[in-house]
C-alpha cells in the first residue's frame, strides 16, 4: 500500500524543493516526489493549509539515560518525547551506566530502540574505556554494532594526545569525534557562566574560555592529523571564532548549538525569583554577546546543526541547592517551537536553512540515511505547522522528566506530525485531524 501526500508544501534543501509537491511513500520509503503524480491506487492524504513537510529532524545530541538511569528517562520515553517534538531520529550519548564503551551496550540500546519502534536511535560510543580518558574504547567494534560517532560527552576528551589518537583511529571508520569542549582546570567547580550575573548572585563561574580552549585544541589536532572533529553544544563567541578559523583553513570541523544557547542568556538565572535550577546547564547560559553570536552563526552557515542536549533529570535532583543540582534540561519537546519562533518567525533564517540545521546537516555529520526526500530515502518526515502557536507545558511532556526553563512559554510554531519509515508515530490532531497512513 502506498500513500500519496497530495500537493503539500515540501521543504527539502537537498533537492532544492520549497513549494507544493506530491510525495509518494511506498514500503517505508519516499519513492517519488513531483507534481501531479498519478494516484495509482495509493491512499491520498491531504494536509491542512499551512503545513510544511520536511525530511525528518535528527537530534544528534540526546541523553536517553538507559541503561542505568531509567528513573530519569528510558529509551521508550525518550523516543516518545523525540517523535512528539518532531524528531524522527536521535543520536544518544554514551554516558549511561554502564558507559556505552562496548558493543554489548550498543546492542542493548539498539534492541530497546527496535522494541519501542518510535524514533530511530543511533548510539554514540565512548572515545575511551569508561570515558576515563586513558585508553581507546574498541571503536571498530562499536562501529560494527551500530555506533555512528564517538565522544566522552559529559566530560571533555581528557588529553590532547587522546584527541589525536581518537581522531586518527576514528577516521578509519569515517566517524566524527565529538568533544564536550572544556578545560577542566578552568571550569573548577563552576556552576554558571562567569559574568556579571553569576558574579552578583555569588555563583562560581565557568568562563567562556573554558570552552574555546577545548575547541582550539580540537581544531589544532584535527589540522595536524586529519579526521572529523565535531564541537558539541557550542556556546561562546570565542568558540565560534575558532570553528570559523578552522573551517577557513580547511580543517574538517563541524559544530552544533542548542536552542537554549541561542534563546536564553545568563539573565535567566536572576529571573523568577532567582536560582531556578532549570537554568543550570553545562555549558552554562552565556552572555548576550554569545547568544547573539550563536544566532549569527546559525544565520551565516558557520554553525552546522541544532541539537538539544536533551538532558532529563528527576525533579528531586533538580530540587537541590543551585550549586548541587545536576546540569541539564530536557530539550526534545521544546526545540522545534523555539526554532520556529526565535529563528524563522524572528526573520533570522528561512525554513530551508532550518531544515538544513535540523535534518540535512546532522545526517551528513553522522553519515546517516535521511536528511533528504530523494527517491529511495527513508520515509522519515517531520510535518510542521509554523503558524500554530503552542504553550509549553512541562507537566504534559512525554519525557519522564520535567526540567525545563521554558514552562509556560507561548511560542509560534508547532509540530503537526512525525512519520518514521512511513509510519505515523505522532500526530497533533488539533492540527492534522485523524491521519491514516496505514
Amino acid at each position: 500500500m502506498s500513500v500519496l501526500l497530495k500537493s503539500v508544501h515540501v521543504v527539502d534543501p537537498a533537492s532544492g524543493r520549497n513549494g507544493r509537491f506530491d510525495v509518494l511513500i511506498t514500503g517505508g520509503r519516499v519513492t517519488r516526489v513531483g507534481t501531479d503524480l498519478p494516484v495509482d491506487g495509493a491512499r491520498v492524504v491531504e494536509l491542512p493549509a499551512g503545513c510544511v513537510v520536511a525530511p525528518g529532524f535528527i537530534d544528534m545530541h540526546v541523553h536517553l539515560r538507559e541503561p542505568g538511569q531509567e528513573y530519569k528517562e528510558t529509551i521508550a520515553t525518550g523516543t516518545l518525547s523525540a517523535v512528539t517534538g518532531g524528531f524522527t531520529a536521535v543520536a544518544c550519548m554514551p554516558n549511561t551506566d554502564p558507559i556505552n564503551d562496548t558493543a554489548s551496550v550498543t546492542e542493548f540500546i539498539m534492541k530497546r530502540a527496535a522494541e519501542t519502534g518510535l524514533a530511530r536511535v543511533y548510539p554514540i560510543g565512548a572515545v575511551s574505556v569508561g570515558s576515563k580518558g586513558e585508553q581507546l574504547a574498541e571503536i571498530a567494534d562499536l562501529r560494527a554494532a551500530g555506533c555512528v560517532a564517538i565522544t566522552d560527552d559529559g566530560r571533555p576528551v581528557a588529553t590532547s594526545l587522546l584527541m589525536r589518537r581518537a581522531l586518527e583511529y576514528a577516521s578509519m571508520f569515517k566517524m566524527p569525534v565529538i568533544d564536550h569542549c572544556e578545560d577542566s582546570s578552568l571550569k573548577g567547580d563552576g556552576v554558571a557562566h562567569e559574568g556579571a550575573v553569576a558574579g552578583l548572585l555569588g555563583l562560581k563561574g565557568i568562563p567562556g574560555a573554558c570552552e574555546s580552549i577545548g575547541v582550539e585544541r580540537g581544531v589544532s589536532v584535527a589540522e595536524m592529523v586529519g579526521g572529523h572533529f565535531h564541537v558539541a553544544h557550542m556556546s561562546t563567541r570565542q568558540s565560534l571564532r575558532a570553528v570559523r578559523a578552522g573551517k577557513e583553513r580547511g580543517v574538517h570541523v563541524t559544530t552544533e548549538v542548542t536552542p537554549h544557547h541561542f534563546v536564553l542568556t545568563e539573565a535567566a538565572l536572576a529571573e523568577r525569583g532567582g536560582f531556578d535550577t532549570n537554568t543550570k546547564m553545562n555549558p552554562p547560559l552565556r552572555e548576550e554577546a554569545d547568544r547573539a553570536a550563536m544566532v549569527e552563526g546559525l544565520r551565516d552557515g558557520s554553525i552546522d546543526a541544532i541539537a538539544t542536549d536533551h538532558a532529563p533529570h528527576h525533579a528531586d535532583e533538580k530540587a537541590l541547592e543551585y550549586d548541587r543540582a545536576p546540569f541539564g534540561i530536557v530539550g526534545l519537546e521544546t526545540a522545534v517551537p523555539l526554532c520556529l519562533d526565535r529563528l524563522v518567525h524572528a526573520g533570522v533564517i528561512g525554513l530551508p536553512r532550518l531544515v538544513e540545521l535540523l535534518s540535512v546537516n546532522p545526517a551528513r555529520i553522522l553519515g546517516l540515511p535521511g536528511g533528504s526526500l530523494a527517491d529511495g530515502a527513508p520515509a522519515d518526515l517531520t510535518i510542521l505547522s509554523p503558524d500554530t502557536s503552542v504553550t509549553i507545558r512541562a507537566s504534559a511532556f512525554k519525557s519522564k522528566s520535567r526540567n525545563t526553563p521554558f514552562d509556560g512559554w507561548t511560542l509560534k510554531g508547532a509540530v503537526a506530525a512525525t512519520i518514521v519509515g512511513g509510519r505515523l508515530v505522532f500526530a497533533n490532531e488539533a492540527i492534522v485531524g485523524r491521519l491514516d497512513l496505514s
Binding site: L200, L201, G202, L320
Partner: protein, 322 residues
C-alpha cells in the same frame, strides 16, 4: 546627629532574602527602627514583649557563632519562642531535597525562619515554597543582608549619613557575601564605594552596580571615610589566589601607615572573625578608629528591627500580610 528619614512604615516583602530586593526607604525604615531597638539594650531588663507567642526557627546549615548568637539574642529580647538547628552540610548530604526540608519546617508552623546556608540562593528557593517569613542570615557567596544593614547602621551612627560617604571595602571580594550585600546597600543609599582586592579575587559584575574597583589598596583607602576589611580565608586561598600570607599582608593588610591615607576621622570596620596579621594589623583593630565592637552590638539591634518589621511592625497584628 543621626538622620531619621524613613517614609514607609512597613517592609514590602514578608521575607528578607537580600538587599537586592529592598528599596532605599525600606533600608531607612530598618535603620530607624534599629535605633529604637538599640535602646532596649540599655535597660536593666533587656526584654520587650513584642514577639511573644511567635515561633522562630534558626536554621544554620553552615557553622556560625556570631550571627547565630546575635539573632538568638535579638529573638529573646523580643520575647519570641525560638529553637535552633545547626547542621553543616547540604540537604543532599542528608538525602533530603530542599522541598522536603521546607515542608518539614512548614509542618512545625513557625512564623519565621532565620537561615544560613553554604549554597547561594537557598533562602530564595525556600521562599518560593514556605509560608513562613524567611530571613537570610547568609547564603553562600551571595548575600548577608542583616550584616549590611548593621554595617550601614554603624556607619550612620558614626558619620550621620550614608549619602556621599566614601567607603573602601578591601579583601577577598570574590567569595564575600558581606561585600555583595554591602555594595548593594551602599550604592542604593548613594554612598561612594570602592572595592579593592587582588585581581585574583575580584568577581565580575561589581562595575554594573556602580562600584569603583581597584587592585591598589593605597588608592582605595585614599580619603576614605570608612575602611571595611573583609576576612580572607587564607588557609584555602594561599597558593593560587595569592602566593603567601606575608605577601597578602604587604599588599592588602590594613596598617596604621596605610590608614593615614584615609580621612582624618575615618572609621575601620570588619565583619569578623578577624585574621590579625593577615588582613588587619592589631594596632588598627584595637585602635581608636575601630568600630568593630560597635558593629557587634548594633547587630543585635538591627536584627531586632528586622524581626519586628517582618512580624508586622505596628500596622500588622499578624505576619500573614504579603
Amino acid at each position: 546627629m543621626t538622620d531619621k528619614t524613613s517614609a514607609v512604615t512597613a517592609l514590602r516583602s514578608r521575607h528578607l532574602l537580600g538587599i537586592a530586593g529592598m528599596e532605599p526607604d525600606e533600608i531607612e525604615l530598618v535603620l530607624d527602627t534599629a535605633l529604637a531597638m538599640k535602646e532596649v539594650a540599655t535597660r536593666p531588663i533587656k526584654k520587650v514583649p513584642t514577639l511573644r507567642g511567635r515561633t522562630i526557627i534558626n536554621l544554620f546549615f553552615e557553622s556560625s557563632t556570631r550571627t547565630r548568637m546575635s539573632f538568638e539574642l535579638a529573638e529573646k529580647r523580643l520575647s519570641a519562642d525560638t529553637l535552633g538547628m545547626t547542621s553543616a552540610g547540604s540537604s543532599l548530604a542528608k538525602g533530603e531535597t530542599l522541598s522536603d526540608t521546607a515542608r518539614t519546617l512548614e509542618a512545625m508552623a513557625p512564623d519565621m525562619i532565620v537561615m544560613r546556608h553554604a549554597s547561594s540562593g537557598v533562602p530564595h528557593q525556600l521562599a518560593r515554597i514556605c509560608k513562613a517569613s524567611i530571613i537570610n542570615a547568609g547564603d553562600g557567596m551571595h548575600e548577608h543582608p542583616t550584616q549590611a544593614l548593621l554595617d550601614a547602621f554603624t556607619m550612620r551612627e558614626h558619620k550621620g549619613h550614608l549619602k556621599g560617604l566614601r567607603v573602601a571595602i578591601v579583601g577577598d571580594l570574590a567569595h564575600s557575601r558581606v561585600l555583595r550585600s554591602n555594595v548593594r546597600l551602599l550604592t542604593k543609599m548613594g554612598a561612594d564605594v570602592t572595592a579593592c582586592g587582588p585581581a585574583t579575587l575580584v568577581p565580575p559584575g561589581l562595575d554594573a552596580l556602580g562600584v569603583r574597583v581597584t587592585t591598589s589598596m593605597d588608592a582605595a583607602v585614599e580619603g576614605a571615610d570608612v575602611v571595611m576589611m573583609l576576612r580572607v580565608q587564607h588557609e584555602r586561598m594561599q597558593g593560587l589566589y595569592f602566593p603567601s600570607v606575608r605577601e597578602y599582608f604587604t599588599l592588602y593588610g590594613l596598617t596604621p601607615a596605610r590608614l593615614r591615607r584615609a580621612a582624618p576621622d575615618a572609621i575601620v570596620m570588619h565583619p569578623g572573625p578577624m585574621n590579625r596579621g593577615v588582613e588587619i594589623d592589631s594596632e588598627v583593630a584595637d585602635g581608636p578608629w575601630s568600630v568593630i565592637l560597635d558593629q557587634v552590638a548594633n547587630g543585635v539591634a538591627v536584627r531586632m528591627a528586622v524581626l519586628y518589621l517582618l512580624a508586622g511592625g505596628d500596622e500588622r497584628a499578624d505576619a500573614s500580610a504579603t
